[in-house]
Amino acid sequence: MIYLDSHAHVDVVPALNWYDSAEKLVARMDKAGIRMAAISGYLNAPGPNPEGLKGIADAVAQYPDRLIGYARLDPWYDDRCVETLDAAVRDWGCRGVKLHPAHYTLYPFGQETVKLAHRAGELGLPMLFHCGDEIMCLPYQIDRLAEKCPNTTIILAHIGGFFSGEAALDVAERRPNVLVDTSEIPFPGMVRKAVDRLGAEKVLWGTDAPCCDIGHEIRKVELAGLTAGQERQLFCENFARLMGIPLEADDAGH
C-alpha cells in the first residue's frame, strides 16, 4: 500500500510546547512507510513568526519528494493575507491552505475568510480546516463558507473531532466541495460511517503527525471494516487526485 498523508505538521514553537522539526516528521514517516505528507506550521502567517512560511518552504526544499507545503494563514490581515497566500504559492511553492480559526478568532463564514477562500479556489488550492469542538471551528460554521465558495475544496479535519462528527458528515454530505480527514480521532467506527455516508472518495487519510502515531492512524482505517478498494482510496488515491500526484497502477495495490 502507498500511504499519502494529507495532514501533518512541521514547526518548532516553544511557547506552545511543540517541537516538530522536518527531520523528526520524516524519520517517523520512514519508519511507518509513508511516501509523502502535506505539512503546515503551528503559527499563522502573517503573524508572530515572519519566517513561518519560509520554514515550511525550507522543509519542502529539504525533502522535495516527501513533503508538500500548506500555508497556514490568518484572514484577520484581509488583503495582506491574500497577498501572503499569493506569495506562498509563488515564492514558497505552497499547494494548500491550513486554517485554525480558533487560533485567530474569526468566523469561518466571515468576509475575510470568504475572500481568502475565493482566492484559494482560483489558485486551485484546498483549504484544510481544523474542525472540531471549538467555537470558530465547528462544522456548521464552516458549512456557511463552503456554501459561499463552491469552487474551493474544503477539508474538515478530524471528521469534526470528538463530539462534532455527525455535524461534519452532515456538511460534507450536502456540500460537493467538502471532504473530511481521518486524523487524530479515536473512532474507527466514524471512519466507516464517513465512507458509508459520503462515499470513500470524500474521505482523506491524515495523521496529524508527528503528534499522533502514524502506524496507529493507519490501524484506525484498517479497523474500520472497509473494502480493500476503499482503503486504497483513503490511503493514497484521494489525496493523489487532489494534489495531482501520479500513482503507478502497482502503487495503489491494483
Binding site: H100, D133, P186, C211
Partner: protein, 254 residues
Amino acid sequence: MPVIDAHAYIGDSLFGQDRTVEALLVEMDRLGIEKAGLCPNKPPGYALGPANRLVAQAVRQHPDRFFGWVRVDPWQAERALDEMKAGFEELGLSGLLLHPYEELFQASSRMLDPLLSFAGQLKVPVMVEAGYALLSHPLDIAEVAHLHPETTFIATHGLQLDDAGFALTDAELAMRECPNIVMETSGMYAPDTMLNVVNTLGLERLIFGSHSPWLNLEFELERVQRMKLTDAQIAAVLGENLLGLLQRKLQEET
C-alpha cells in the same frame, strides 16, 4: 503480568452504548485481556443504583475477570455518599467513578468534597472522566487533586479531549503539579506526552483503559502496545500499575 482494562462500560445505556457482560468477555478473550474494571453505563431510566448492582453482580459471577467501579451523581449529595459507601461496603466495588459530562457537574466543584474525602480515607481510587470542555479540563482535575492530596485520581483520556492539542500542555502541568493524579490512556492521541509522563514523572503514573464501547477496545489496546517503551514498561502500563492502585481489593484476589 495480566492485561487489565481499567475502564469498560456495561449495561443498557441512555446514550446508545449498550453492552452486555457476555459481549465484553468475548472481546476480552479475543484480545487477550484478562481483567476489566466495569463501569456502569447510565441507564435509560437514569437510575445509577441498579446499574451499580449490575456491575456488582458481574463481579461476583466472574471475580477472576472483573472488578467494579461504583458510579454516583454528586448532585444527589447525601444519597450519593450513601450509594458510594454501599458500593464499597456492600457491593464489593473497588473505586469511585465520576462522569462530569453525563451527570453534568464540574470536576472541580466543592460538592465533590465529601465523596473525595471518603474515597481518600478508604484509599480507593477515583476515576474521573476527563477532558470534557468546561466540565473536566485538566486543571479542574488538578484543582481537586490539590484539595484532596490523600485521594488518588485516575484521569481518563490523558486528562483531555482537545483535538487542537492545546490542552496537552495543561495535562502535563496537572500531572507535574499533582503526584496523586494517574493518567489513563483511552483516546489519548499524543504518545509523546504519555512518554514524557513515564520518563519524567514515573512509570506508575500511566495506566491502560479503553473507555469501550464508546471507544474501540482493540484500537485502545494497540495504543499502549505501540508506545516506545520496554516490554516490562508496557506490562506495567497494561496492568501492573493498576493492580498497585487497587491493592486493597484486587491484589488479594489475583
